[in-house]
Amino acid sequence: MASANYQETEFGELHRRLTILRLGLLLVVALLGLRLWHLQIREGPYYRDLSENNRTRLVLLEPARGLIYDRHGVLLANNVPSFSLYVTLEDVKDREALIQQLADLLGLDPALIQKKLGGRGSKLLPRKIKDRLTLRDAAVIESHRLDLPGVMVQVESQRNYPGGMTAAHLLGYVGEISAEQLEKPEFSDLHQGSIVGQYGVEKSFDRHVRGQAGQKSVEVDAVGHEKKAAVVEKPQAGNDLYLTIDIRLQKVAEDLLGEEFGAIVALDPTNGDILAMASRPAFDPNVLSRELTPKQWVEIVQDEGRPLNNRAAQGQYPPGSTFKVPMAVAALETNTMSPSSTVYCTGGYQFGKRVYRDWKASGHGTVDLHTALVHSCDVYFYTVGQRMGIDVMAEFGKEFGLGQSTGVELPAERSGIMPSTSWKQQARNEPWLPGETISAAIGQGYVTVTPLQMASLIGTVANDGVSYRPRLVQAVMDRTTGNLQELPAVPRGKIKAKPETFRLIKNALADVVNVGTATKAKSSLVTIGGKTGTAQVAALRAGPEEHIPKKFRDHAWFVAFAPVEEPRIAVVVLAEHMGHGGSVAAPLAKEVIETYMKLAPQVPMVISEAAKPGQVRRSTEQS
């Protein structure tokens, strides 16, 4: 090396420095030792005392869940104080006696208390035995507190839904985190007893709404009662949600369904905002957010009407004649039919040995596409389906989002079925039969859809093929910073179809209401376009509708949009086992649309002007 000399001197220098480092090390370690000697030997007894008398406990401070509002700032979910009963096992002298005492005082099942106390976990952490104590129960416990070591009553916030059953399926409910959920990484910062969303938006936006628990250190006396408390870490409230729904429209939709089973979805086709999403029967989220007894659970789960099922997003039904809307688009776009080509309808369609009947036994005569939609001619669409084939139908169905979930922010959304030859091969391991194409052409057979999918579909048609993902939450308010974060509409692309196609079909749909199968939806306030559907439930039926047992009666559909000239709302009504779409479903859709038209113009948006339909519409016009 060229610099051997340099290296040598450097080297010697380095050695001298290492010696300094050694001395430094000894000095510092000596200082550490001295400090530890001071802590452990000189002040040891003092700290020993502190640690022994330190009967302080860290108690978790549950965060307040974020509030939920509708699009105009009407409160849908908040928190109210309630009393909860806790037991700290460390302080309990005689467990069996305590269980018996509590059971007697509060009228609880001893086995249930036993179960609550039996779980894994530290003896030092208080365990929740019961929430929502009545004031009387809380007073009883407090007056017996000297006989009940280890028992304490805490004021906590309890989720509350002021509207009761209103929008229950959307909001969902909350509950104690389950053992399985605790194992999952997304809940890693939670603990036994944490409250998390279990359904609806409460579940899908739990991460936002949940907040972060804080801690306080509590000094307790010999029987475990709180003496002194200091907040160590403040809980952080969860973020507030602003939904897209208008609660007034939601209530109207729910009241329209009344006692009947079914769903109504209304959305803004220009941005995908869900304005209302009703499903009946419903449940009371206040009840479900409480701790239910096993018996109550069984009652709810075994209820024939399946009230926990959100029919709008989880109910899968044959679309019936509403399916003729995407079929009509397909027919024109594939040139299977021109607007003027006609089919002669005799009231039946012969295929192989079988005759497929039209709903009108006498037949519609010569029909073109317009008439076929207006009067819902089955034979015309049998013909279209037969010429097009199932796979082309499937392709267009998928373009419109059938057979796949819409991606709305709700747990357990179902995707329905858009059948094709490959689907049947995979799902059933059977080849596709030609006759099945004919049933599929009028939305029967294997085709199933959710009301939400149909709302999105008719909205897309109304919006000339431009579609948005249906969404429920338009903004999130950060409670710590006060920032309002608006969530943008999510475009899903544009259906590849000529503007002329949509113009023709929207015209026909307007005439469905004017002169066709849905004259009951005709409104004096606004122009409405729509399509009726009657989905067969049972294949074999005899006699008039009224004589058939209700569970075999047809489902009534109506899909609609308004105003026809510049659509601002798309509505879907599905009434289970209620018969014809034109007579049952169409009037309900009209009510929803008229309500919205009356509500919408006068009410300025509370949240923001930016999320208003107007802006989005402008951008879609450009595209």
Binding site: M1, S3, Y6, Q7, E10, F11, E13, L14, H15, R17, L18, L21, R22, L25, L26, V28, V29, L32, G33, R35, L36, W37, L39, Q40, I41, E43, G44, P45, Y46, Y47, R48, L50, S51, E52, N54, T56, R57, L58, R120, G121, S122, L124, L182, E183, S217, A230, V231, V232, E233, K234
Partner: protein, 373 residues
């Protein structure tokens, strides 16, 4: 060619003592982690088992570093630094967040912390830099190495990870000290700023409002003391102090078992140990660390060339820094920053990195009997 340079006696007495020391300290760590967490944890792989897995990985890293040639490793220093910088940048964008700071890259159920590895790579880079050619003058001795360190430091502080950032600077400072700076002035300035830091800190800190302090702390180091009330520091002092001379015995640490002491298995593991084993146990552990560092210094002073000496010195300096600052902060002598106790605290990246560094040290010693030229 390389074989001719190598000391062929596979493991001599020195090596055995060295390895035994490391294993005993690791054992103390696992025992403390086990004692603390065996009752608390529900579900998932227990911490002490995870730590054993990491030690297994660490042993592999140790052997690899020991068996290779440190001259070759030094030649890889710059590319390795580039990779580490990329990982640090990646962590900022994609990393796992914990307690407000982004430090981890997830690998299945485990996460690893690039900032730990950055320290070792920085030692390699600086040792390589100084030994490659004579570095004279302020620019070459101080400024350029400082600029080398800077991107890593910035990325680490950005996470934010004050503890790793400080050890980064400590490595740089130790290297400067080892090669010597011509002007004594720099040394004096460094020394004074370190000495004055607590006073400046107290002065500025004392004049702030509570919420301002919280905001600053949340920015600088969000891990500790969220209420700003000295809760963690106090609980840690109570834990150590209440151990007295003999300690409370295994599982006996009420402070830690009752969860008064946060982060008991990671940064505050020393407090857990001190509570359970008392002043006697503390003396034993301190003695073990002093012995380990002493042997390491021995290696540094007998290294055959400047590269070896600098590598060894850098590693020893880093080890010293972590041990002293960690014990000092748990004992309430320093403000609390997130630095784990080497070989004892739970934590995969730190354990593997420390063991790899020690392997590299032994590598330097292994080659000291070979000829220079």
């Amino acid at each position: 060619m390389i074989d001719r340079w190598t000391d062929h006696r596979s493991l001599d007495n020195f090596d055995l003592r060295y390895v035994a020391l490391i294993l005993v300290i690791l054992g103390i760590g696992v025992l403390s982690i086990y004692s603390l967490t065996h009752a608390q944890q529900s579900g998932g792989m227990p911490y002490y088992v995870k730590q054993l897995v990491w030690i297994g990985v660490g042993v592999a890293a140790f052997v690899v570093m020991w068996a290779s040639d440190y001259h070759r490793l030094a030649r890889l220093a710059y590319p390795a630094y580039a990779i580490v910088l990329m990982m640090l940048a990646f962590v900022l964008i994609e990393g796992r967040t914990s307690k407000g700071a982004q430090r981890w890259i997830g690998v299945g159920p485990f996460s690893f912390q690039p900032s730990e590895f950055a320290k070792l790579v920085l030692i390699l880079v600086l040792a390589h830099y100084y030994s490659k050619a004579p570095r004279v003058g302020w620019l070459q001795r101080v400024i350029i190495p400082g600029l080398l360190m800077l991107p890593g430091l910035i990325l680490i502080l950005k996470q934010p990870d004050l503890g790793s950032g400080l050890s980064f600077v400590a490595v740089y400072a130790a290297m400067l000290l080892m090669v010597g700076v011509r002007s004594q002035a720099l040394g004096v300035i460094l020394l004074f700023s370190v000495m004055l830091f607590p006073f400046v800190w107290e002065g500025v800190w004392g004049s702030l409002h509570d919420y301002q302090r919280q905001r600053i702390m949340a920015f600088v180091d969000p891990d500790y003391d969220p209420g700003g009330k000295g809760y963690h520091a106090l609980q840690s002092r109570i834990a150590i102090g209440s151990g007295e001379l003999m300690g409370k015995g295994l599982y006996g640490g009420t402070q830690s078992q009752l969860k008064f002491l946060p982060e008991g298995h990671t940064d505050f593991v020393f407090a857990v140990y001190a509570e359970e084993w008392g002043f006697l146990g503390v003396l034993v552990l301190l003695a073990l660390f002093v012995a380990l560092i002493w042997l390491s210094l021995e290696i540094a002073s007998k290294a055959k060339d400047q590269l070896g000496a600098l590598l060894a010195a850098g590693i020893v300096a880093m080890l010293c820094f972590c041990v002293v600052v960690n014990i000092g902060m748990t004992a309430g002598m320093f403000p609390i920053v997130g630095i784990p106790l080497p070989l004892v605290s739970y934590g995969g990246s730190a354990t593997v990195m420390t063991m790899a560094s020690l392997g590299l040290l032994l590598n330097v010693k292994r080659r000291r009997l070979s000829l220079f030229y």
